[in-house]
Symmetry: C2
Subunit: 399 residues, 2 copies
């Protein structure tokens, strides 16, 4: 039997994967599970987007342009211009989800063995794309004590080698919910320009900024136009994760010319998803207002309840719909498994994402979990009560 | 400005790309272009598949399972069983088009620097996936004199080195339309087993077999179950290229376990496309009968007309909807460009795909083009007349 590739062996399984059998067993026993482990929002996709797909009159579902339909890209450039990101439709490549945008960006800019610095904890799938492209992720650690703010620039400087080619940020952040300030972004911009690095800026949660804070995009950094690659997606913005539509946006024409060659090899992004993405641009503002209000209400409820639990530390996330929380446990991986295998309260339990999967440095995040507040208020409340009871009962509780 | 990656520089632009500006200029001059250059069928997508998308009742377009919806995979396994490919739903990973299936297969099985042997001319995008995975395509040349039959196994043997890890075939073939016989497949199977290689079998044109010939799948080769990876797609079968739904199918559980990790990193294949793909499995047989009849009629018309043109050699393709033809010209790249820039007959011209883009060996295919017979009879007839007139007028005609 022929052997599997080295990359295939290195690819991490989903951090949730080892919990799945325990979740399935719990379900078999009739236990209800609150899923706080994934970023699959429960919010309905905008009506205007769903209608577009019901009413489409295609007779042949054809390939689109490899960069995506021109009508969609033109309309998307208006969306960007309205938030002061001055790009035209030729500076946008529609991708198969934000995932493909990340992959095309790494493949276009980095050689195997090159390094990219990423503040940790970070979105675990960056590991998969880095392995695919053969590049090395070098973590720079952010801390729960500062609410997961951008690590000091001096910490980045220490990690720069002759192989360093870029920095990846996610803003607002998954898994921490942290929103980088204009000041932090400007400092990062100085670093990027000083060392002539790429800045890969994953801004798929752009619309999820709370408490009056506004989003400062990497595309707003002056003088970094040739260095910044914006990675975007409709998944979270319109609660349409399944359409698999994202975008790679940059003013650097060399990157566009290169990335489009990768796009041509895979022919085109999904045509039906593009119909949804284009129509979704007409989503009325009150949709976003209601969604934002809903998430703020959930966040406030959750953060309040978490911080009232003895030994729990939860910063107040200013964006996205995640928070990374410290729990008074010996091992959050063990605890997450125990919740499914050995615990129930009123015949209910919850599923969490252990934070170790979001850290690259071994040993970090062992007492942290990521919680996605993608449940309605009532369920979220019950889930928090369940967590409180569980922490009291857990044999590995750390005082 | 930071530099572009080596892979980015190596990625080939689409072979058609340099013709596009000339086609656009011809259109501006009001010249009608018959597009014989791309495999975008004009056949309608089955009604049952289009209805499924119109009538879907999703309120949230969610991620699916990373391997695709279980209901779809179960139904797809029945489709395979009906053609004697005995797989269950756990041996199928739904991919974003056949493209992603090829990429996942190469990434899972080959290391950078490894070699894969491919009969040329071959589907040009294999180059892009090979570059992405860092693997080397080693061409074994098939010839128009034999109608592009499988090259002798001895020719494969000569190319095997310590880095050879597999063979890619496309059956029926794009760009030649050749259908490998059971005998050829068995011989290839012996080679694969002897050297313990992977056989990546791209069978996306499976339903397009003509003249009473039946399709012999790589999955039918006895004793090669652990070596064969089937790469599939709904694009051509249901004329639904834009849904971007394909599949990686194998009985080798190590490969499945590895490929699913790549699938998890990109979360899920398109949800709307999966609805189309699943519903399309209920397409009535008469759809395929009519489509087959249509393509046979077109093929016969085209092959007859081509072979009547002085100096043209066109084998009779037994499958798919392509043929690779020898033209009496000095340089088919030049000729294809000249058709758009300097020629018109009755204010019409045609666009062809120069075959050099399908050969890996420099210099081969210089007097060949690929023609996709994806136009209706009337247009195809006019296009062939146009080609005849053009070949008479072309200054680089070779006698």
């Amino acid at each position: 039997m022929p052997r599997i590739s080295e990359k295939g062996r290195l690819m991490p399984a989903s951090p949730i994967r080892k919990l799945v059998p325990f979740a399935e067993e719990a379900k078999r026993k009739g236990i209800k599970i609150y899923h706080l482990n994934i970023g699959q929002p429960d919010i309905p996709t905008p009506r205007v987007a769903l209608d577009a797909i019901h009413n489409n009159t295609l007779e042949v579902v054809e390939y689109s342009h490899s960069a995506g339909n021109e009508s969609y890209r033109r309309k998307l450039s208006e969306y960007y211009r309205a938030i002061d990101i001055d790009v035209d439709h030729n500076q946008i490549i529609i991708t198969t989800g934000g995932s493909e945008a990340i992959l095309f960006a790494l493949l276009s800019c980095l050689d195997p063995g090159d390094e990219v610095i990423v503040p940790e904890p970070f979105y675990a799938n960056y590991n998969g794309f880095a392995i695919t492209a053969g590049v090395k992720i070098v973590p720079v650690t952010s801390s729960i004590e500062t609410g997961f703010a951008l690590p000091p620039i001096a910490d980045f400087e220490k990690l720069i080698t002759s192989r360093t080619r870029g920095v990846i940020i996610c803003n607002p952040n998954n898994p921490t919910g942290y929103l980088y300030s204009e000041g932090e972004m400007e400092k990062l911009g100085e670093l990027i320009k000083k060392h002539d690095l790429y800045l890969f800026s994953d801004e798929v949660y752009r619309e999820f900024c709370y408490d009056g804070h506004s989003h400062f995009s990497a595309m707003h950094i002056k003088g970094a136009e040739q260095n910044v690659i914006l990675l975007d997606s409709v998944s979270k913005r319109y609660s349409a994760c399944g359409v698999r539509i994202g975008a790679l946006v940059t003013k650097n024409m060399d990157i566009l010319y290169t990335a489009i060659k990768f796009a041509q090899a895979r022919l085109s992004p999904p045509s039906l998803g593009q119909i949804v993405g284009e129509a979704a641009l007409d989503t009325p503002q009150d949709y976003f207002d209601r969604v934002s209000e809903e998430y703020i209400m959930r966040r406030n409820l959750m953060v309040d309840m978490l911080n009232k639990i003895d030994g729990v530390v939860c910063p107040v996330p200013k964006g996205a719909f995640y928070t990374t929380v410290r729990l008074p446990v010996d091992d959050a991986d063990q605890f997450s498994q125990w919740l499914l295998s050995d615990f129930e309260y009123d015949n209910e339990t919850l599923m969490l994402a252990p934070a170790t999967g979001f850290y690259s440095t071994p040993g970090l995040g062992k007492d942290e979990v990521r919680i996605a507040y993608v449940l309605n208020k009532e369920d979220l409340e019950k889930a928090m009560i369940c967590l409180e009871k569980a922490l009291k009962a857990y044999p590995g509780r750390r005082l």
